[in-house]
């Protein structure tokens, strides 16, 4: 579905991504974890067409020439940006409708009502708040709205940038449950997270990004069990744990 080969990108002269190669297959959740400044967001923005490719290839749905953000959304790849980024001054329902415009315009069979009903079924709270201004929602509700807005475009690949940032643990759990549900409904998800444990917990495969390079990859359980990952991202000191067992 998504294949990246030797991708380089950055801002001006600053090279953030250094020869990244990765792939996402249909129907899986792939988690990309890494610390602040590792280049996670840059990678997603480059895939979404917001940042120019500096070198290497991105092949999305077997098309190599998707250049503009518009073309990429049309082709079926949506990004749920970090920090929600809802249309704060518009109503919840207008936010959702806007998310679906791309499909609404190009697909004759697209039914706005069917899609809205689907979103409201996944996120019942959005239906309760449908005529409220999006900026007045709580953080968790805004995250749900941002996810719902992306889903309105009926994407085949959904990319999520740190959906758990600044949310209460209970809400985070709910959001991750929804991510799993999306996968079960046949969607493909590329999840970027700092919350490594949760992200790898629901993922099929994972990549670890550090200063613009992929340093580790593999099935999610293997990464969770990997001592380097545990030390760096799960905050568990392996040696200390072993020592305490001896006593």
């Amino acid at each position: 579905m998504l294949k990246i080969k030797n991708l380089e990108a950055g801002y001006g002269k600053l090279r953030v991504l250094k020869k990244i190669s990765m792939h996402v297959d249909k129907g899986e959740i792939v988690s990309l974890i890494g610390a602040n400044g590792a280049g996670k967001t840059t990678l997603l923005y480059t895939i979404a067409g917001m940042i120019k490719v500096g070198g290497g290839d991105i092949s999305l749905f077997d098309c190599a020439d998707l250049a503009s953000p518009q073309a990429i959304v049309k082709a079926g790849c949506s990004l749920v940006p970090e920090g929600r980024q809802v249309f704060a001054t518009m109503t919840v329902e207008d936010n959702l409708i806007l998310g679906g415009y791309v499909q609404y315009k190009q697909d004759k069979g697209y039914s706005r009502e069917v899609e809205l009903a689907h979103i409201y079924e996944i996120f019942p709270v959005l239906q309760e708040r449908r005529s409220q201004l999006a900026g007045t929602l709580s953080g968790g509700e805004q995250q749900m709205l941002a996810m719902g807005r992306s889903l309105m475009a009926k994407p085949q690949l959904i990319m999520m940038d740190e959906p758990s940032t600044g949310l209460a643990p209970l809400i985070v759990k709910e959001i991750f449950h929804i991510v799993m549900r999306l996968r079960d409904e046949g969607n493909t998800v590329l999840l970027v997270e700092q919350n490594a444990k949760a992200a790898l917990g629901i993922a099929d495969r994972g990549y670890v990004l550090e200063t613009g390079k992929i340093i580790l990859q593999g099935p999610a359980e293997d990464l969770l069990a990997n001592s380097d990952v545990q030390r760096a991202y799960l905050g568990r000191d392996v040696d200390a744990a072993a020592a305490s067992c001896d006593v």
């Binding site: 940006p81 249309f87 704060a88 207008d94 806007l98 609404y104 807005r149 992306s150 475009a153």
Partner: protein, 297 residues
């Protein structure tokens, strides 16, 4: 105050008020998509009037007006493409300064093309002395034209923003440009559309009011200040509120003369209202405080 006099002042106020409202709506349209105030808005009104006057010597009046509106609309789009489009993530302040600069340049170019004489389009129907009696006041038919055209324009605009996909997309760009782009909306095109739209409605206003108020190369500045006052008074971004606020300001101005306030203070009234509103109710009379709090500017 006798009824005839009262309604005479009232209609004078309404006439000016509706012009202010149209300029304010022009501000609102661009503000709604870009979040900036286009201070060259008054110049669009002047250009609409001037171009239609020039064209009217070559072709019949309705055709001249249609062409003038069309030319001004293209000019508005061109202005955006040449001066604004290529800016990489410009700040609000920078865009405002650019539009102020543009308004000065347009005014000076207009001075060179059309000179500093006062010009006017002929009356759409009747002439200077023809009038209609309403509530004892003598109203020029042109005033009724202005009212009708502007009311229809306002109605169509609000329908446009509420119910068309282009209108909603333009709103989305104003609210959050990054998110709009991620939804597959071409934000840059939306900005160009908004400049074209607001240039066009400015030009329509310039044509309808030209017979009443005349057109001069520097009429834009005054209109821009009044229009801005009205836009802020009503609540930035809200077109219906702009109409109400425009009528309010127009009527206040008209009656202030009626009760013997010196004419020279007329502009001071608008500025004072602007200041008071900015201090006391920055989200405007009819603005939504909640929505205003969610905006950057």
């Amino acid at each position: 105050m006798p009824l005839e006099l009262f309604s005479q002042y009232l209609f004078a106020g309404i006439t000016y008020g509706i012009i202010y409202a149209i300029v304010a709506i022009g501000f609102n349209i661009i503000y709604n998509t870009t979040g900036i105030i286009n201070f060259a808005q008054g110049e669009f009104v002047m250009l609409g009037g001037m171009i239609s006057i020039s064209l009217n010597s070559l072709m019949p009046l309705p055709l001249a007006i249609v062409c003038a509106v069309f030319i001004t609309m293209l000019f508005g789009g061109l202005l955006e493409i040449v001066f604004i489009r290529w800016l990489e993530s410009p700040s609000v302040l920078r865009m405002i300064i650019i539009t102020i600069g543009l308004s000065i340049v347009i005014r000076e170019v207009a001075l060179h093309i059309w000179g500093d004489g006062v010009r006017a389009l002929p009356y759409f129907t009747g002439n200077v002395v023809s009038s209609v009696q309403i509530l004892g006041a003598s109203i020029s038919p042109q005033v009724l034209w202005a009212l009708a055209v502007c009311s229809i324009m306002v109605l169509m605009l609000s329908l446009f923003f509420k119910f068309t996909s282009l209108g909603r997309e333009m709103q989305a760009c104003a609210s959050n440009r990054l998110a709009a782009t991620l939804c597959g909306i071409n934000a840059r095109n939306m900005v160009t559309f908004s400049f074209m739209l607001s240039a066009a409605i400015g030009a329509v206003a310039g044509c309808v009011v030209s017979p009443i108020t005349s057109t001069q190369y520097d009429m834009g500045t005054g209109l821009a200040i009044k229009g801005f006052t009205v836009a802020v008074l009503g609540g930035l971004g809200n077109s219906m509120a702009a109409v109400a606020a425009g009528l309010l300001l127009g009527i206040i101005e008209a009656f202030s003369v009626g009760v013997g306030f010196p004419l020279v203070f007329q502009d001071a009234i608008a500025i004072s209202i602007l200041l008071v509103i900015l201090f006391v109710r920055p989200h405007g009379l009819f603005g939504n405080k909640e929505a205003a709090g969610l905006k950057e500017f």
